[in-house]
Every structure is written in C-alpha cells, then in structure tokens.
C-alpha cells in the first residue's frame, strides 16, 4: 500500500541534506587532523589552511539552514521528516561551533610554534585523535542510523573529560616545576580545553541523532 515513490523529490532533498551534513562534519574532521599536524610539525601553512576551512564550515551552516527553512516552508514535513529537519538545524549549529573551537585550538598551536616542546606535548594530539574518532563514529551513526554507535561515542566523551583532567594536573605540575614554561603549559591546556568542548558538541549531535531516530529527547551526556 505504501507508495515508495510518492514523495520521491522530497526524499531526494532529505538525502541531499544529510549528505551536506556529512560533508560539513568531514570538513571539521579535516580541521582536527590538519590542526594537529600543524602543531606537531610547527607548520604555519597548515595552520592557515585550518582557519580557511572554517569558512567552508560556516558556508555549509548557512546553506543547510537555508535549505531546512525552505523545506519546512514548502514541504511542511511531519513526524520523522519533521524531526530530521528540526534536528539537522541543531546539528549544524553544533558542528559550526566545533569548527570555531578548532580555529581556537589552531591559534594556540601557532603561538607554540618555534617554542621548546613540553614533555606533555604529545597529550594534545592523542586527545585530538580520540575527538576525531568520536566525530567519525557520529557521522557513521547518522548515515547508518545506528544508535549503538551513539552510545559508544557518549562513553568516549568521558575518556576525553578524564584526559582533560589529567592534562590539567600535568600542566599544574609543569608550571610548579618550571615556572618559565608556564606560558606554553597554559597554551597547551587551552588547546585541550577547546578539544574537550568539541567533544561536548559531538555528544550534543548524538542526542539529536537519537531524537531523530526515536522521537525521544534524552540527555545522553552525563
């Protein structure tokens, strides 16, 4: 009885919307990767590229939001379609914030360029790797409509929080031991703090994906 083709055009538009959200998320993943490479290799050019990529993220944000508003007006979606569009509008604003935080992380990476590396310098890329994995899994969860993956991502967020706490303690010790490297320690701590915020926004996205699929608004982030 269900005519699969009856809303073919609208279904296609929803698919394109989802593809654009994927592309936006992938751009932020690229920002994380490049930002850490810029940090590890003290590569100013890469840092510039990260900052440029944020413009692309902002453009996605505007384009997708415009598309959502158009679909609301012209298709007047109901039920799951409505949840998809309403959630998408929230998801892109979270991804947009992730992009902003990655710009902040990169700006601190630039300040550290040419300065002696601290013993704890490797902790930041490790954390970034975890955050990038969370984002990858969230995008997979969106495309596969996989709620189990979402639970996994939310658990990973706790690891990111724990990593930040450890890095805070390490930075304190570093500053106490070598007050002259206080500036570097604080910059690194800021980078970690921003990465932790990116992870928080990823869990927000997970909550929206959960709502999209189930219709239930649930605080997944403990």
């Amino acid at each position: 009885m269900i005519n699969e083709g009856i809303r073919a055009t609208f279904d296609q538009e929803l698919k394109e919307l989802s593809d654009q959200v994927m592309a936006m998320g992938i751009t932020v993943m690229e920002m994380i990767k490049k930002s850490m490479n810029a940090f590890n290799k003290s590569d100013e050019k890469l840092a510039q590229e990260v900052i440029k990529l944020d413009d692309r993220v902002d453009k996605y944000n505007q384009d997708i939001e415009t598309k959502c508003v158009q679909l609301l007006a012209t298709q007047q979606p109901m039920a799951k379609d409505l949840r998809i569009i309403a959630s998408t509008m929230r998801i892109i604003s979270d991804i947009e914030r992730m992009g902003d935080y990655m710009v902040d992380v990169t700006k601190f990476a630039r300040r550290l360029m040419g300065k002696p590396k601290l013993a704890s310098a490797g902790d930041v890329p490790k954390m970034a790797e975890l955050v990038e994995k969370m984002l990858q899994e969230t995008l997979d969860a969106i495309s596969k409509k996989d709620l189990e993956l979402i639970t996994k991502v939310v658990e990973d967020d706790e690891n990111v929080d724990a990593a930040l706490r450890n890095m805070f303690d390490t930075a304190m010790l570093e500053i106490e031991k070598r007050p002259l490297s206080a500036r570097e320690a604080i910059y690194q701590l800021f980078m970690a703090r921003y990465l932790e915020r990116v992870a928080d926004h990823i869990t927000n996205v997970c909550e929206r994906v959960y709502y999209m699929e189930t219709g239930e608004l649930k605080e997944l982030h403990v």
């Binding site: 699969e4 609208f10 979606p77 109901m78 039920a79 239930e216």
Partner: protein
C-alpha cells in the same frame, strides 16, 4: 462571545471548564459498523474528552466518516447498515438510552459542502430552534445572534440578515451552517471535512471559530487535511481500513507517532 452564549443556554451556567470538569463526553467500545455486509469500522474503542477537539485522520475508506456518522446514528439512514458495540454519550448508551432525535440535537454535524436552506440568513439559523418548538421571538433572535457570533460570521452578516443565504460566499455559507448547527444548542459538534472546498482564509476563520467553540462544545473533526488536524485538534486518531491504528496527543502524533503506518500516512507516503 461564546461566554455570552452559554448564559443564554442555561442560566445556571453550563460552561464546561475542562479543568474543573474532567472526563469523557463520548466513549465507544468495540464499535463495529457494516454496510451491506461490508465492514466499515472494526472494534473502535476510544474516548472523546469533554471540551476537546478530536481530529480523525486517515486515507479514503479508513472509516472516519462512518465513525463520525455513527456518533449521531446518521449511519442508520443508509440501507443495509448494521452496528455492534457501544457508544456512550455522557455515560448513556446512544443506541438504547437516548432517543434518536434528541441524540441528533445533542450531537450536531457539519458536512463538507455547505448546504444552506433556500431561506434568509436569519431563517437558516432560526430554522432548527423553531423546529424544536421555540416560539419566543426574542429568544430566537438571541439564539441567532449568538450562534452567528460563535461561528465567527456575525460581523459579516449582521446588516444583511434578511438576504438569501445563497448570496454568501462558500466560506461564509459554511460558517452559516456551523451557526445553524449551534443554534439548536448541541453538546457535541461533528465536522466532516468542513473546509474541503474553502480558500485558506475561510479555512483559518473556521479553525479559529472551532478553537473558540472549545470553551463550550466537544468537537470531533474528520479531515483529509492532516495539517488541519495538526493545527486545531487536541488529540488525533489515525484510522486505516476501518481500524484505529493510533490515538494520541496531536503534538505526539505529528512529531513522534508510534506506529510506522501513522508516520507514513502523515508524512504523505501513502493515502
């Protein structure tokens, strides 16, 4: 305006405050209806709460009009119709404990096409009360005015009450028909696709009137326009092939329906 009407209706004030007077206006249990042996409704058990607007949606042949017409026993007018199960109005069995004519006075119906009588605007509305034996001219005038006000058409017709009702536009005629239904002071108003032939502004006027009427009446709205149910109903029931698939708060049905068939229907994937 509606408040005034209730004063006219009953000096002791019959205003039903949904907060203070909770409960069900209509309860159906295992309601089955057949037409010539073909089953139109299957085991419909639901409740219509006092003063709510209940929307009934579903594709064609889902049984929504049969359901509506059973509530005031209009279905019995079709030859070969048979009904099983129970419908309670204010706790009374409409098939056993309420006179059919009294039932139709208490449970009024507004149809898809406006059907004004070939009379003046005033006489269209006065027709019902007169038929029910009201002779007091002052009372009739009051009823006509209040009914036209409640149906949100008074301002448009107050200076032309003697004109023939056919001179009104389609949207005005439909609101006149609502006023005519209200003039016999029903408890429940049923609507069968009340805006199917109307322009968007007339539709919105009728929807606004329905929201106002909530203060006094219990209303059941059958509509093919699911968005109309989303706009005006408190709760919505989804019917499919004579069965009630899902009943829930309108906000829940239109954002997170539990049954996939409901989701597919309201998001326009069949029907």
């Amino acid at each position: 305006m509606v408040e005034n009407k209730s004063e006219i209706r009953n000096p002791k004030s019959e205003i039903k405050d949904s907060k203070s007077e909770q409960g069900n206006k209509i309860v159906t249990s295992k309601l089955n209806v057949w037409y010539d042996g073909k089953q139109a409704l299957k085991d419909i058990s639901l409740n219509v709460e006092m003063n709510e607007i209940m929307g009934v949606i579903g594709p064609s042949n889902s049984g929504k009009t049969s359901f509506l017409e059973t509530l005031n026993r209009l279905n019995e007018l079709y030859p070969g119709s048979r009904t099983e199960g129970q419908v309670l109005l204010d706790g009374k069995d409409i098939f056993k404990e309420i006179d059919k004519h009294l039932l139709r006075k208490k449970v009024g119906i507004v149809f898809a096409l406006p059907l004004p009588l070939p009379l003046s605007i005033f006489d269209n509305v006065a027709y019902g009360p007169r038929l029910h034996g009201i002779k007091d001219k002052k009372k009739i005038t009051e009823l006509v005015e209040q009914s036209l006000k409640s149906a949100a058409i008074w301002d448009e017709v107050k200076d032309r009450l003697k004109e023939n009702a056919f001179k009104l536009s389609g949207g005005q005629q439909q609101r006149l028909c609502i006023a005519r239904t209200l003039a016999v002071e029903p408890d429940v108003v049923l609507y069968d696709e009340p805006c199917s032939g109307l322009d968007p502004i007339s539709t919105l006027k009728i929807e606004e009137a329905m929201r106002e009427l909530k203060k006094i009446y219990t209303q059941v709205l059958v509509t093919n326009n699911v968005k109309q149910s989303a706009r005006v109903s408190d709760r919505t029931a989804f019917f499919l092939m004579g069965e009630m698939i899902e009943l829930g708060a309108t906000t829940q049905i239109f954002t997170s329906p539990k049954d996939k068939r409901t989701d597919d229907y309201i998001s326009g994937r069949f029907g």
